[in-house]
């Protein structure tokens, strides 16, 4: 990858429940691989001490989401080849045991991860595949508000 094009994709899950719901999907392009190198996880609800379990998992079908146009981080780049979606109403078909990230995070916290070149999460150039950011909250006081995920990716 010489000088990769970079994009930002924001997403959210309007209502967190006790089962995993998808806040953001990064959907593969068959023309090029993608590389997720940064993500931020947060909540927008009333501050309390609930815990959310966030996971980043691979899927083979993207489900039904609200389309998100990836924002160019360099205005001179072309539109992204990878796609993004937010607030899934039909969950993607996730591959079992494919979590590359799985953490419990306090509702009041903002979580940021960033990778240097060589440490990115690579998205294969395979139709309908990709990665999804999912969250749930089961431990009392369970969080039921909006959860946000934003990812930066290169292609």
């Amino acid at each position: 990858m010489g000088c990769p094009r970079r994009y930002a994709a924001p997403g959210n899950q309007a209502t967190i429940t006790t089962s995993f719901k998808t806040a953001l999907t990064i959907v593969a392009s068959t023309s090029t691989r993608g590389a997720i190198y940064h993500f931020v996880l947060s909540t927008l609800g009333v501050a309390a001490d609930g815990v959310l379990e966030w996971a980043l998992k691979a899927f083979t079908s993207p489900g039904t989401t609200t389309a998100v146009t990836p924002r160019k981080l360099d205005g001179g780049d072309t539109v992204a080849l990878l796609a993004a979606g937010s607030n899934a109403t039909v969950e993607p078909t996730y591959t079992a045991s494919s979590e590359v990230f799985d953490q419990g995070i306090n509702q009041r916290a903002t979580y940021t991860w960033i990778a240097i070149p060589g440490g990115e999460i690579l998205v294969p150039a395979t139709a309908s595949n990709g990665y999804g950011f999912v969250a749930l909250s089961t431990v009392s006081p369970a969080y039921t508000g909006q959860a946000n995920a934003q990812a930066h990716f290169a292609e």
Binding site: N106, R108, A109, I114, I116, G119, L122, A127, N129
Partner: protein
């Protein structure tokens, strides 16, 4: 020698929470060369607690992949997995499936 001392970590995370919820916590991580799992590295921890080094691809791997390697499993880097996925997909699409 810890992973941090070898300069092999490839990721960095921060948790920004109110002081009574832990405050700011910073962690280094590496991405498993075989399965892409993000493995967090505690400073000065026992290297055996965070996986190991695959002697074939010379990549850091997570505890799960390390256990598979020690049980006799092959070196199967994520790059090779992606090539197989992409080849299968290209074949299906060429057949109109």
């Amino acid at each position: 020698m810890g992973v941090m001392g070898s300069g092999r970590t490839t990721g960095y995370s921060t948790i920004c929470a109110p002081d009574d919820c832990g405050g700011i916590v910073e962690q280094e991580s590496f991405t498993c060369k075989h399965c892409q799992k993000i493995v967090f590295v505690k400073p000065l921890c026992d290297p055996a607690d965070m996986g190991g080094l695959c002697k074939v691809c010379d990549g850091l791997i997570c505890p799960g992949c390390y256990a598979k390697r020690m049980a006799g499993g092959p070196c199967d880097p994520w790059e090779e997995k992606m090539k197989r996925m992409e080849a299968r997909d290209a074949t299906r699409r060429s057949m109109g499936l």
